[in-house]
């Protein structure tokens, strides 16, 4: 396959004025929805979807794509400024992004995540162009056994995201696993822990948990400490630029993040959320100052944001080339193509190269739009923090409720988000961390689903899973990681304090 010919086909489609216009509108709307608390990329796409029925299929996908990665990007803004993750993947950005903002480095954090998003996105698109055929072959090799193995590795790796008390972190992972059990069991059709609520047949919605635990609890928590207070943030352009040291610390995490993101994004069913957790966990492991993570380490925002946006791009590979959407957002986008009578699948690249490469190319242009659109806007977003809390927080609560309601037009979800807000407040007061809970909640059901599927296929023979080369290797890695972590708990590493990082 001639890559340059493909780029030319793609460019030809992507820079047509109509596509450029809708790409820009999509990116703009996506960023806007993403910044609003409670509205994630799925809700944003669903809202814009009906509009695209009146567009050409390529234009429709260009616009929806723009909304998708725009919203994934915009979600980081609310995460950093207000501790409000719009999507599962942005939850990780809260861990270090919000402390950065509280230290008065909101501008820097927003600027650097924009850069990380752009670099991650671009590398993801390069993978989309160059590696599509290889990635497709790989994605098919992954069956239930391999999925189980990689998810359990992800769960073990990500469980170390927790900081101070491993016991509390473990407790939160377990609570997350339990919450994830709620809803209809796939293999038997029996609802679990639904307590007669029909709304719980499909489990808790991620939005209510993330918004409640992070957003609402944050607001309740600050009511007692920060009445009428505002953060003093510098909004000059200079304050956004990283120091030489910060820049140096950012590059490697950004590249590693893109690699992790590109890999997970291409696996249908895993997607950006796992990529960000794993990306973060890797950075914390390889860092020579892991104690700074969770207190505003720049590596802690660079890697997940880069991973997120790389994954968002490579997620299009299985969707467009196999016709298998990796996430709910991808399924909506496939629906948009099918409304126009185009079924994404192996033939798409051959029969409609203009669509495939045009869309891929437009993503890259859209990522440039994101950069151009958002760097000037950073100063504007930071000013949100200058609004006194007693005005800002009620408005945010209203936005959260509207966002949560619009997701499934369900009043039940509003009650849930407020309930989780209370729970979050109690847990925070007891110094529990929220991120491990989310990891358990997201990964738990996936681990269970794939394990049970694999066990059914192998008729209960666990060794059949170990004997398979990929799943066996991954399970072996998991075991090593577990042993290493245990070793670390009993024989903690002596802290080496280098001259320049001494406090």
């Amino acid at each position: 396959m001639d890559i340059f010919a493909n780029i030319m086909i793609g460019l030809d489609t992507a820079i047509s004025p109509v596509n450029l216009l809708y790409c820009f509108i999509g990116v703009f709307l996506g960023t806007f929805f993403g910044v609003l608390p409670g509205i994630g990329s799925l809700a944003a796409i669903s809202m814009v979807l009906p509009v695209t029925f009146y567009l050409e299929p390529t234009t429709a996908l260009v616009m929806l794509g723009g909304v998708y990665y725009g919203a994934e990007y915009g979600g980081s803004t609310a995460s950093i400024l207000l501790n409000l993750p719009g999507t599962p993947s942005n939850a990780v950005t809260c861990i270090d992004g919000y402390p950065m903002a509280q230290k008065g480095k909101a501008g820097l954090a927003l600027f650097m995540t924009t850069i990380a998003s752009y670099v991650g996105g671009t590398l993801g698109i390069i993978a989309l162009f160059v590696l599509s055929p290889i990635i497709v072959a790989w994605a098919l090799v992954f069956g239930p056994a391999e999925y189980f193995a990689i998810m359990i590795l992800g769960l073990v790796a990500a469980a170390t995201v927790t900081q101070d008390s491993p016991a509390k972190g473990l407790a939160m992972v377990c609570l997350g696993l339990l919450l994830g059990c709620t809803g209809m069991d796939l293999e038997t059709g029996v609802p679990r822990f639904e307590y007669e609520f029909i709304e719980l047949y499909e489990g808790f919605s991620f939005i209510t948990i993330a918004m409640g635990l992070f957003g609402v609890s944050e607001i309740i928590f600050s009511v007692k400490t920060a009445v009428g207070r505002t953060f003093d943030q510098a909004v000059t352009f200079k304050s956004m630029l990283p120091s030489r040291d910060e820049l140096r610390r950012s590059i490697a995490p950004m590249l590693r993040g893109a690699g992790v993101g590109g890999f997970f994004g291409a696996l249908p069913g895993t997607g950006p959320s796992i990529a960000t957790f794993v990306g973060y966990a890797i950075e914390k492991r390889v860092s020579d100052r892991p104690e700074e993570f969770g207190k505003g380490a720049i590596e802690g925002i660079m890697s997940p944001e880069s991973a997120n946006n790389a994954a968002v791009q490579t997620a299009f590979i299985p969707t467009l080339t196999l016709g298998i959407p990796g996430s709910a957002s991808m399924a909506v986008m496939m629906g948009a193509l099918m409304i126009h009578g185009i079924s994404p699948g192996p033939q798409l690249m051959v029969e409609r190269p203009d669509i495939f490469w045009g869309v891929a190319m437009s993503f890259w242009i859209g990522n440039i739009f994101l950069l151009v659109l958002n760097i000037p806007l950073i100063g504007f977003w930071i000013r949100i923090l200058k609004v006194p809390y007693h005005l800002l927080y009620p408005a945010v609560i209203v936005l959260i409720c509207v966002g949560v309601y619009s997701f499934r037009t369900s009043g039940f979800d509003i009650a849930m988000v407020l309930l989780f807000g209370m729970l979050g407040f109690v847990l925070r007061s007891l110094k529990f961390e929220m991120a491990p809970l989310l990891i358990g909640f997201i990964l738990g059901p996936m681990v269970e689903e794939n394990l049970r599927r694999a066990m059914l296929i192998f008729r209960g023979d666990f060794w059949a899973m170990v004997e398979r080369p990929i799943s066996g290797t991954l399970l072996f890695l998991t075991l090593i990681l577990l042993l290493y972590t245990t070793y670390q708990i009993f024989f903690p590493k002596k802290k080496i304090v280098a001259g320049d990082s001494a406090q």
């Binding site: 196999l322 496939m334 994404p344 369900s410």
Partner: protein, 322 residues
């Protein structure tokens, strides 16, 4: 002069009366809400939007599509059942709607009695999609292979009591194999594991199966309808390859809350049937491998009754749990 005023006021009142009676006859005189009990982008949503678009052009009233997903389709259906029975809130329902009562112990409504049956929209066959590495290229040899490996093989379906599960269990019994059902969260992930040779087969929608079938990534050995599909006429039906009486199709119908007046039901039915006969609608459905199927109100009601009783019987026979 006085007479003239009286005459004109008389005339005016006649005109008013006339227009009032016309307005009463002209259902609908305000926007209609069409509930889709699934997320946007799925087959129900696509069919509903096409239908809604053409109905609103016909009526001169907007048809608002409202997605109310959750609990299979029970959240949206429960909502419809609770609405005013004036014909202004209607819902799209698929074959799954008639399957759920057979397998769900408790639904928040009575699927057979809480709804007004309005019209059938269309139907679509399913395809028996087989893994590319399977050691057979036609259905008869393949069934022989499935029988020859008891206790080892699995197929993919989309949840207990889904159409894919019903289709698979009925086929399993008909060919005398003990192949095991494994559940997925949707037709696409199940198909992915068929393409990767991880499971034997999946009986999925034609729309989803056709692209990989044409690319040679799955083997399309049969379709589930009574007649061959125009989208892939080379694929035989299951009846042709010796599975007697096998017919399972995906279909979509329109329901409303219980107690919509008969004349409004008839107006809705005839407007929908008018849309079904347009070439625009036929083409839109053909893209999905589906065909419109107009029915009168009594025909559709009998169709629903037949579906309900079939699935209850099959669930009992196949021991699909309630």
């Amino acid at each position: 002069m006085k007479n003239l005023t009286r005459l004109s006021s008389c005339l005016a009142s006649i005109v008013l009366l006339l227009s009032a009676s016309i307005a009463q006859a002209a259902f609908p005189d305000k926007p209609i809400t069409l509930i889709v009990p699934f997320k946007p982008g799925g087959s129900n949503d696509i069919v509903a939007r096409q239908l809604g678009k053409q109905l609103s052009a016909d009526w001169g009233q907007p048809v608002v599509i409202e997605n109310k997903p959750g609990a299979g389709s029970d959240v949206g259906s429960a909502y419809t059942a609770s609405q005013k029975a004036d014909g202004y809130t209607i819902q799209i329902a698929s074959v799954t709607f008639t399957m759920r009562p057979a397998i769900i112990a408790k639904q928040p409504f009575d699927a057979q009695n809480d709804f007004t049956r309005i019209a059938l929209v269309g139907q679509s066959p399913l395809m028996l999609g087989v893994r590319p590495g399977a050691p057979a290229d036609n259905a008869k040899d393949y069934f022989e292979y499935l029988r020859s490996k008891p206790g080892q093989l699995s197929y993919g379906a989309t949840g207990v009591g889904s159409i894919q599960h019903f289709a698979g269990e009925i086929l399993r019994k008909a060919i005398g194999s003990d192949i095991q059902a494994v559940q997925y969260k949707g037709g696409a992930p199940a198909m992915k594991d068929v393409m990767g040779d991880h499971i034997e087969f999946s009986i999925g929608s034609l729309t989803q199966m056709l692209p990989p079938y044409k690319a040679g990534q799955i083997k399309g050995l049969a379709v589930t309808s009574a007649t061959r599909s125009e989208s892939a006429p080379e694929i035989p039906t299951l009846q042709e390859v010796g599975v007697d009486g096998y017919e399972i199709v995906q279909w979509w119908g329109i329901l409303g809350p219980k107690g919509i007046p008969g004349d409004i039901v008839n107006t809705l039915n005839s407007s929908i049937n008018k849309v079904l006969k347009t070439s625009e609608f036929k083409e839109a459905l053909a893209k999905k491998g589906s065909t419109p199927r107009p029915m009168s109100v009594p025909e559709f009601s009998a169709w629903m009754d037949k579906n309900f009783s079939t699935w209850i019987r099959v669930a009992k026979e196949q021991n699909i749990k309630k």
